[in-house]
Amino acid sequence: MQQTQIVEIQNVSFGYDPARPVLRDIDLAIPRGAVVGIMGQSGCGKTTLLRIIMGAYLPSRGTARVLGHTTGELDAEGLYAMRRKMGMLFQFGALFTDMSVYENVAFPLREHAELPDDVLNDLVMLKLQAVGLRGAAHLMPTELSGGMARRVALARSIALDPQLILYDEPFTGLDPISFGVIVRLIRDLNTSLGATSIIVTHDVQEALDVVDYVYFMAAGRVIAKGTPDQIRASPEPFVNQFVNGRPDGPVPFHYPAPDYAADLEVVPA
């Protein structure tokens, strides 16, 4: 079977301020069916890269091809058409707080497909069943725990059977049980929908158990890439410090400061 690339980022640079680029010369290719992790420290540019893939930002240089479209060449209609084939799980779910769980999952279906009520109901129940929350359909988002809200948001993001699912920090703030549920769902949904998944996260240890391939970012660049085992064994000092959670290394424990002895000197009265 020919392996096609769902996302191809070629030589992409981006900056909110041209003088201070957030992303520099990024190259990555994500094949169909894979679960790929984009990892790195907070502020390394991984969420910005996710927004480039979503088409929310356009590269200052280079090209981003997503689902066969070059994002920079799309107009608003084209961008929306592309996004209809994508699903996105936001960090804290981003559920619509004025709608019930049922209405949240039904939202994309109501907006994009004029379905009879019984068909819509079946689809919503199918998606809620997939995340194990069919029984919570009548609840409001404020009545859900963090893990449940994340699962409802996941059900909503797969409502239109997307080809590409994006996860923005899906593990943040989850208890071990909810975490286990989300990990299993990411894998299962990717397989059952025949989709491709991109997980942006700084929870490296957890994510390495889920993904097929990893891009490791630091200061706006990809500094390492490979399978989870290759990343665990990486000789790159930064990756090593990050994967093993060492307090000191290329990322220093101490914030830059003047000489310690000088700061301890007693100032004469």
């Binding site: 929310a56 996004r83 994508m86 996105m88 804290f92 619509f96 939202f107 994309p108 907006e111 239109l160």
Partner: protein
């Protein structure tokens, strides 16, 4: 030299403030244009707009009716005090009705609408932005201006004239309670003079025009401030304050302009 540098920095700051405000007005105008052009969803799926009419209009009814009643009662007390000095206390109905229909109804209802519904609209849209609900909508290929902003805009624009009319009606009733029931002005004179003196085109229509203009201004400011809010708790709180302050000033300034345009010198 120091004075020149000080003056220069002050002028630079003033210039940059003025420039950024002009940019903001331009951005708000483009926002309104885009909003009107993408109102198809709000009008086609009118139940979305009806929900906002309930939110902005129906839920404002209590404050509007109670305020109208009290304003009308005060008008009757104050008006009687003055009119009876000239032996014209029978004209109390005219004074109450004209004051409300031409001026106080649209203006006070507009100010109350800005505080009650305008601030709520800004806070709701701002919080939707802060909690990434707006981004989520964009990711689902749904235009948030068409789906979230336009129904709220039209809901507010439709509600405001109705609220102003109800404010005036409650005010007239308040004036009747105090003038006729409490003070003892003749009921027949109260109503018949009012009926004879209040003109549909010059008085009522002018009041309706004012309330429509105030409705557009307040709701435009409210949705824009919400959509443009910095997506943090502080940003939303600042945007909500700006909505109330800017809307109130806009109502008073527009009221002067509209009154000047409608002024006929008694002819």
């Amino acid at each position: 030299m120091i004075e020149v540098a000080w003056l220069r920095s002050r002028l630079e700051r003033l210039g940059s403030t003025v420039t950024s405000q002009v940019w903001r007005v331009g951005y708000a105008s483009r926002f309104l244009f885009y909003l009107v052009m993408h109102s198809g969803t709000a009008l086609k799926r009118f139940r979305l707009t009806v929900a906002e009419i309930y939110f902005a209009g129906v839920l404002s009814l209590v404050i509007i009716l109670v305020s109208g009643l009290f304003v009308g009662m005060v008008l009757a007390l104050q008006g009687y005090e003055t009119l009876q000095r000239f032996g014209a206390s029978e004209s109390l109905g005219v004074l109450v009705a004209l004051s409300l229909v031409r001026e106080l109804g649209p203006v006070v209802a507009g100010l109350l609408f800005a505080s009650r519904a305008g601030s709520a609209i800004t806070a709701e849209i701002g919080l939707m932005k802060a909690t990434e609900q707006i981004s989520a909508m964009e990711m689902m290929a749904v235009d948030p201006i068409a789906r979230v902003v336009a129904p709220r805009f039209w809901g507010g624009v439709i509600s405001m004239p109705l609220l102003a009319a109800l404010f005036s009606a409650a005010g007239v009733f308040g004036g009747y309670l105090v003038g006729v029931q409490l003070i003892g002005v003749d009921s027949g004179a109260f109503w018949s003079q009012m009926q004879a003196a209040v003109d549909l085109r010059n008085d009522i229509m002018n009041g309706v025009i004012k309330s429509v203009v105030f409705g557009i201004a307040v709701t435009w400011i409210s949705v824009f401030e919400g959509y443009d809010a910095v997506p943090t708790a502080e940003g939303v709180s600042r945007a909500t304050t700006r909505t109330v302050v800017t809307s109130s000033l806009a109502i008073l300034a527009l009221d002067f302009v509209l009154t000047a345009l409608m002024f006929t010198g008694g002819n």
